[in-house]
Symmetry: C4
Amino acid sequence: MAFTEDEYRDEENRLEHSPVRRRLFIIIFGTSTYIGKLFDIILLVLIGVSVLAVMLESVSYIQATYGAVLRIIEWVVTIFFTIEYIARIWVVKKPAQYIFSWLGIIDLLSILPTYLSFIFVGSQGLAIIRALRLLRVFRILKLMRFVSEAQVLGKALVTSRHKITVFFFFLLILVFILGSIMYLVEGGKGGFNSIPLSIYWAIVTLTTVGFGDITPTTVLGQMIASVIMLLGYSIIAIPTGIVGAEIYKGVSGKQAANVNTNRLCTSCGVEGHRYDAEYCRNCGAKLNHSESK
Amino acid sequence: MAFTEDEYRDEENRLEHSPVRRRLFIIIFGTSTYIGKLFDIILLVLIGVSVLAVMLESVSYIQATYGAVLRIIEWVVTIFFTIEYIARIWVVKKPAQYIFSWLGIIDLLSILPTYLSFIFVGSQGLAIIRALRLLRVFRILKLMRFVSEAQVLGKALVTSRHKITVFFFFLLILVFILGSIMYLVEGGKGGFNSIPLSIYWAIVTLTTVGFGDITPTTVLGQMIASVIMLLGYSIIAIPTGIVGAEIYKGVSGKQAANVNTNRLCTSCGVEGHRYDAEYCRNCGAKLNHSESK
Amino acid sequence: MAFTEDEYRDEENRLEHSPVRRRLFIIIFGTSTYIGKLFDIILLVLIGVSVLAVMLESVSYIQATYGAVLRIIEWVVTIFFTIEYIARIWVVKKPAQYIFSWLGIIDLLSILPTYLSFIFVGSQGLAIIRALRLLRVFRILKLMRFVSEAQVLGKALVTSRHKITVFFFFLLILVFILGSIMYLVEGGKGGFNSIPLSIYWAIVTLTTVGFGDITPTTVLGQMIASVIMLLGYSIIAIPTGIVGAEIYKGVSGKQAANVNTNRLCTSCGVEGHRYDAEYCRNCGAKLNHSESK
Amino acid sequence: MAFTEDEYRDEENRLEHSPVRRRLFIIIFGTSTYIGKLFDIILLVLIGVSVLAVMLESVSYIQATYGAVLRIIEWVVTIFFTIEYIARIWVVKKPAQYIFSWLGIIDLLSILPTYLSFIFVGSQGLAIIRALRLLRVFRILKLMRFVSEAQVLGKALVTSRHKITVFFFFLLILVFILGSIMYLVEGGKGGFNSIPLSIYWAIVTLTTVGFGDITPTTVLGQMIASVIMLLGYSIIAIPTGIVGAEIYKGVSGKQAANVNTNRLCTSCGVEGHRYDAEYCRNCGAKLNHSESK
């Protein structure tokens, strides 16, 4: 639940009457005040520490030596997160809205595993999901630039989602067919002992990952493999082309904006003035900014 | 045999006199009526089920336990497909046209393997080819958007097919030469024990797949391998560039909408007229073609 | 030594007086006459056959069975090539020019190995170099389209050669440094037992080939490896971007030159005027701005 | 510490009074005089030789045979570099500026390891860092073209650094999550015996490197692996698209000429008017066409 400036103000005013909640609200959700920033930075550090703890805990020999310490760290963090989570619910106007927002769900998921580890042993590994909370870094540092960049990328992916879908659909059918052919050709020998496994191999090969745990042994198999590889080597051009084209449109948006805006001159009706134009480049009349859309 | 709206109408009208075939036609080929849609969805589900069945059947332990069930599923689906196939032939005006259309061939190929499995054991694995029938999904959901996207991609690939061909031709000669050199350098040791195999290895390496089942052991061999890898790492830029450029042209058709040429108007000195401009867009004077460069 | 139409004519005329050489010249270098085409096609077939022969000969068990046959094929082809080579030298005006032309050198290299195989055993494998002769296919089929496409690619590579060079230079220094670091980190264990070998591994990793014959075992080593992989995964964008950009410039040269807007001229109905056009470029009539959409 | 022409002149003049230092300065930093060039070329050769020596020294059997020779070479080079380093400090006006410049630090780092090898055995391997000195080649050959190309690339990377950062940030979180999931799915078997190791594997897979030293064995694991591979195969499009777009903007600077020309308004001095602009977009004054270049 990221707030826009205005939403944030509204919330703040609303809490006029209850100073405690208001203060908490400013600390937890605010990033303008010194203490608000501090809180967020502490939060980030804690997230980082706990993610590290969860990771190290999975390493047997570290676990053996520092297991106790790591458990303590994890619990301290988890309790802090729990309090923070409750606080967030308490201070916001529409708790439901927060709880079911992306950030809200992530916040919850990042505390659950530790508690679940009582019931299901090993499930604390899931706590790694709190790595997602690191995404808050963008909000805190108010990296509007980064956000806008991310939006350019996001937009590129969104606008190209249909092409990507089509591409993936064909890709899937392709690996289904190729995998089955390989299964028949290799005759269930050397790892190709089932169609699903052969499809897995086809994906490994087409994506040019090539683990090498399964490799064709027959001559025909190697021929087909060669075709698959050359195919994978070439069709990677398609997603790259799609996204690349969209991104280019994104980054050259500003450029294009100058070339061809639909700003209109009210006196001579000439279109396509630059956004920063003061006067019509055609008749010299003063341009009315409200015309720009 | 995908119908355009008009073709579809014609067919429908043609069958005016024979209500049964007409009804069947609307159900099988039509997607506008409720029952027509239903039929297609059932068809899709059956295709999905049978593809899954064929896949699972190839997994030895699943085969051992549920073999019988899977066989039944496959036969039921195959018989349904057979009836559908015959029905399609029966209802269309020009059966031949359907039979030899892409969809028609796929429909046939997707029922043959099961019958062939009487003669050739294991050939039912070929039934996986019916995965291709999943392509019908595009027709059914009438995803015009997707289709148009697919067309953009298709167009990009078609327009760049000559470049791709040239690229592949050079690629093939390249791996032939490189493979042979490696064969000579590695002297038939460690997997490089024949030129074809060395060429296979060259493809594995050039496409950056790198299975690792065959790897150079001599110093010189590793040097050449390094060159091949760097080469493959770089020339992937070529197919990517080709397709990317075409796709970009596809998506940016509109954007490039007002580019400047350096054609000059002799009377008012305005630059940037279109090559096919007859009159200056600014002062209306006749343009002298010799000015265009 | 590919002839331009004119050069070809000159040669032909020059040989006016010696009918035999002239005839031979037209057959060998010409592709317009029926027999000239036939000669070239036979040549191509022979090249293909001999390349195949050389390849198969390297496969031990095929060699054991059909060794004799393959030797004969190779000798027949080699003798034919030798005669052809001598003939080419004989009929052209400036033999030296042909001998030291690319095609001339390839022609020579494609016959030498077989003769050398008397002195150096196994050197006949080098005969694979005659695969290069397959490039003649472009000349024969007179695929001007392909040639022009190839030129677009060639131009793209030529114009971007400096960028590529810079890129490769940095890449080399990069793998030198990274390889040495890995050598120190892994301490000569598990394949990293020399700097050159570690550099080889760095190339394998950076180019995302990843054979897996050498892999880091220490934690620090795996961390550095991760960095190298992510680096390689990202910087592949650079050659791709470079070549892609050049190719795009190549393919979009024409397009940019005159793109349509959908502005309409009310008097002559010509579409595609620039947004800022005052007068119709076709009939010179004043344009009505309301037409622009 | 690369000098601009002017800086270089200043330095030279400054040393007017002390002929020796002046002479040395011209030899070491200068590249215009014959001896200056010679010095730099000798330097390059020595760097190359020493890099080779360090590399070969790490190869056990070469070390065994030519160890002594290589040690001598390395010492000779190191002593030469040391003298050169001191000389550089002596002749420049602001030694500090040189010492803490990139080139200065590299120069120091390239001599330290050899001396350190007294204290820490094996540390001479670090001497490979002097490979970085090879970058001087650009200065010497005064390959302004290459430099400008490098700048285009550099600019492309700089302008896209925010997008790249965002991309990497998401990539890291992605491998963290994916790695942990795989750790839980594979249950610490077959190499996935800790989260860090699983993350390492996730990177190996996502970047399509695929060493194959660790591979999923469970069905679910292979499914997730397939998703990771397809993901990695597709999202490589993002960095490629980002950098490609920037590079394209770089190389197509001219094409974008319309956006930002250097047409000047004589009355208010605002630049960047469209070629077809009649009046200044800023002050409305009539534009003089002769200003456009």
